[in-house]
Symmetry: C2
Subunit: 392 residues, 2 copies
C-alpha cells in the first residue's frame, strides 16, 4: 500500500552503497589497512586548509546559519559566475545559477523541471547508475546508448537512431564516472551538431545536461571542453564534492546560460522543481565557504599519484585497463565475461570493486582509486593473487 517503487529503491540499495557498507563491516574485522575498498567515490584528499579556516571564521558570523534566498545567496552566485567567466571566458551572471544540495539535487531538479510524463532522456553507457533513478523520478524514461568499447567516446550512429520526438534531454558526464574518460572536443562538436539538427527536425529543443563534478580532476593536461561554448541549449550540473573534497556537505549548482531557449522559463522551472522536491536552499554556511574558496581546489596531484600506481600495477599484472584522462576511477576489463562473478572473487581477497553492469557496461569493473596511497600499495599483492587465479 505504500509506494512500491520507492520501497524497491530503499530496500535494494545501489550496489555501490551495498559494497561500501560491506567494507565498513569488513574493516571492523580485519582492520582499515587490510580492506582494499575501491567501491565509493568518496574523495580522500583533504579539503584545502583555507577551507577549514574559512569555516571557523564564518561560523561565528551573525546570520550565517539563516535561510538564504531559495536560488542561493546573491554574493555566492556572483562569486561563482565570476570564477567561471575568468576560467572559460564566458559571461554568466548570478541569475544563471541555482545553488543546489549537490549534483544529485542539481540533476533531479533539472530533470523534473524539464520533463513531462512520457519524455525520454538519453545517456551513454557507461553511465552513473543513479541517472536511471533520477530520470524515472521525473516520470521520464532513460534511454541508453550502448558503450563504445573502442574509445569510450560516443556511438553516434546508435545515438541518432534513438532520438525521437519524445527526446527531451541528453545527459553526458565527462570526465566520466565510471570510465575516467574525457570526451574529446571533436566528440562534443559532433554531439552538438546532431542535437541542433534533431532539435530542428522535431521542432523542440533537446537540452544537453552536462554533469561534471570531476571537471577539475584531469591528467596530462587533458582539456575538458566547456559545453555551453558548443551548444546553446546546454545546462551544466556541478558539485564541489570532488574539487573541494566536500561530498557529504552537499553543495553544487545548476547553470542555465542566457543563450538557452526561453532561458528564464527553464531556470524558473528548475527552481520550481527544487521547491517541489523539498529543497529550501543549499546549506548556508557552505554556500559562503564556497564564495571564499571558489578559486581553490584540493591538491589534485594526489589522485595522479594513485592513478599511476594502480594503472601501471594492474597493467603489469596483465589486467586490461582503460587509460583514465580524469576523475578518480579506473575501468578494468573483467578477465571473465561475468564481471559480477569477477567482483565477487575479488572480494575474497578483500578487494572491493564495482561491477560495470550497473553502469550499463557489463564485462568491466570500476576501481575508485580515491583512497590512501597505502591502500593501493597494499592492494597490489592481493591483485597479484587475483591475476594468478585467472592465469593472467
Amino acid at each position: 500500500m505504500i509506494n512500491e517503487k520507492m520501497y524497491e529503491l530503499g530496500s535494494k540499495r545501489s550496489i555501490i552503497r551495498e559494497i561500501f557498507e560491506y567494507g565498513n563491516m569488513r574493516r571492523s574485522i580485519v582492520g582499515v589497512d587490510n580492506v582494499y575498498d575501491f567501491s565509493l567515490g568518496n574523495p580522500n584528499v583533504p579539503s584545502p586548509k583555507e577551507l577549514d579556516a574559512s569555516i571557523s571564521k564564518l561560523c561565528i558570523k551573525e546570520g550565517i546559519h539563516a535561510y538564504t534566498s531559495a536560488p542561493g545567496a546573491i554574493s555566492v552566485r556572483e562569486a561563482i559566475a565570476k570564477n567561471l567567466n575568468e576560467r572559460f571566458k564566458t559571461s554568466f551572471h548570478k541569475d544563471n545559477l541555482y545553488l543546489t544540495v549537490g549534483a544529485a539535487a542539481a540533476l533531479t531538479a533539472t530533470l523534473r523541471g524539464l520533463c513531462n510524463p512520457g519524455d525520454e532522456v538519453i545517456t551513454f553507457a557507461p553511465y552513473f547508475t543513479e541517472y536511471k533513478v533520477f530520470t524515472e523520478s521525473a516520470l521520464a524514461k532513460l534511454v541508453v546508448v550502448s558503450p563504445d568499447f573502442k574509445n569510450f567516446q560516443i556511438k553516434f550512429d546508435e545515438f541518432e537512431k534513438l532520438i525521437n520526438k519524445n527526446t527531451k534531454a541528453v545527459i553526458i558526464n565527462s570526465p566520466n564516472n565510471p570510465s575516467g574518460v574525457v570526451y574529446k572536443e571533436e566528440t562534443i562538436i559532433k554531439l552538438a551538431k546532431i542535437l541542433k539538427e534533431k532539435s530542428i527536425e522535431f521542432g523542440n529543443p533537446i537540452y544537453l545536461i552536462s554533469d561534471e563534478p570531476y571537471r577539475e580532476i584531469v591528467y596530462n593536461n587533458v582539456q575538458v571542453p566547456f559545453v555551453t561554448k558548443y551548444y546553446n541549449n546546454a545546462i551544466v550540473c556541478y558539485s564541489y564534492s570532488k574539487s573541494l573534497s566536500l561530498p557529504g556537505e552537499r553543495l553544487g549548482y545548476v547553470l542555465v546560460p542566457d543563450q538557452v531557449d526561453d532561458s528564464k522559463i527553464v531556470y524558473a522551472a528548475i527552481c520550481g522543481a527544487g521547491r517541489a522536491l523539498g529543497y529550501v536552499c543549499a546549506p548556508s554556511l557552505f554556500q559562503f565557504v564556497i564564495e571564499e574558496c571558489v578559486n581553490i581546489t584540493s591538491d589534485m596531484s594526489y589522485y595522479e599519484v594513485n592513478r599511476n600506481i594502480i594503472l601501471n600495477g594492474l597493467r603489469e599484472l596483465g589486467f586490461e585497463c582503460i587509460e583514465p584522462d580524469g576523475a578518480f576511477y579506473l575501468f578494468v576489463k573483467s578477465p571473465i565475461a561475468d564481471a559480477n562473478e569477477f567482483a565477487k572473487k575479488a572480494q575474497e581477497y578483500d578487494i572491493l570493486i564495482v561491477p560495470g553492469d550497473d553502469f550499463g557496461c557489463p564485462g568491466y569493473v570500476r576501481i575508485a582509486y580515491c583512497v590512501r596511497k597505502k591502500i593501493i600499495e597494499n592492494s597490489l599483492p592481493a591483485f597479484k593473487k587475483l591475476a594468478e587465479f585467472y592465469n593472467l
Copy 2:
C-alpha cells in the same frame, strides 16, 4: 514544453518568500531598523555558543566532510534516539531514524514514500503553505479541513466526513505555523481514535505525519503531546532549524517507530524516496554538530519576550489575536474581510505580514515575531497608525 507545473512553482514563488525578498529591497532603502519584517520564520536567536565551538572543533577532523551512510551517520542517529528516549520515555533506536536535509525533505520523502497516484492526504487549516506543493509533488491530493475559528483545534465532524478509502495520511503541525496554537492532549486522543477506527473501516493504515519543527518553542509550560504515544501509525518529521537556529543548514529527520505497521517497509520506502528525490545524505558536518549539541537548544526565552510585547501591544491597539502557545507566530484577525488588502495596507507602513489565505485561513494574517526585539518595539507606532486607519 518544459514542465509547466514546475515553471509555475518556480515563477509564482510562495508569497512568504515574495514578501521576504521585498523586505530585502526595502531595507536597502529605508534601513534595517525601519522595516518591520514579520514575513519569514527565520529564527533570529543566535545558535548556542557551544554549537559554533563544536563546528570549529569538528571541521578540522579528518573525514568530517565525507559522505555518510545514506540514512545518516550511525553515531548521530544513536545520539538522537537516546535524546528522544530520555525526554519522552520511548525506546527508539538508530534504525527508526532517517536524517534529512531539513523538515521539508523529511516531508517530501515521507509523502513520496507513502503515496501512490490518486491517494489523498488530509491536513487542517491553517496549515503550512508548502504541504500542498509537497503532497502534489508526491502525485497525491491535499484535502483541507476548514479552520476551527473558535479554538484553532480540529473540526472533527468535517474531518471524519473527508476520510475515505483513498486517504493515505494526515499531516498535523503543532505548535502550529501559522497560528502558534498547540493541539491539546484531548485533541490528539480524539484524532488517534478516529484514525484507528477509519483504518479498520477501510482496511488500510492511515498514517499520521507529525511535522514538529517548533516542538521546543512553547510558552507557559504548555505540553506538546508526543504523537507516537497515542497512535501506532505515527511518523514524526523534525528539523533542527528552530531549536538550534540553523534553518539554512538543512538538518532534520524522519522518525518511523517500530510500532508502525510494516515499519521496516515504510522506513525503506521513505529512504528510497529520499534517494529518488536526489538526497544523498544530510549535510555531514552538521550531522556531527547535532550529535554534539543534541541536548541543547538556543535561548528560547527570547521568543517569549517578543511574544509578550507583540501580543500585548496589538491587543491594546484593538487587534484581535489568537494567543500563541508555541512557535514564534502570532495569528491576527484582519480588521477587514480581505486579509490580502489588510496586509497590503500594512506594507504602506513598512509592516510586512503574510495574509492567511495561503495558509487556508482567509481573514487572518501571520506575524512572525522571530525578529530583534527592537524591530518589534519600533513597529508598535506603525501598528498604531494602522489601527487608527481602521478605526480600531
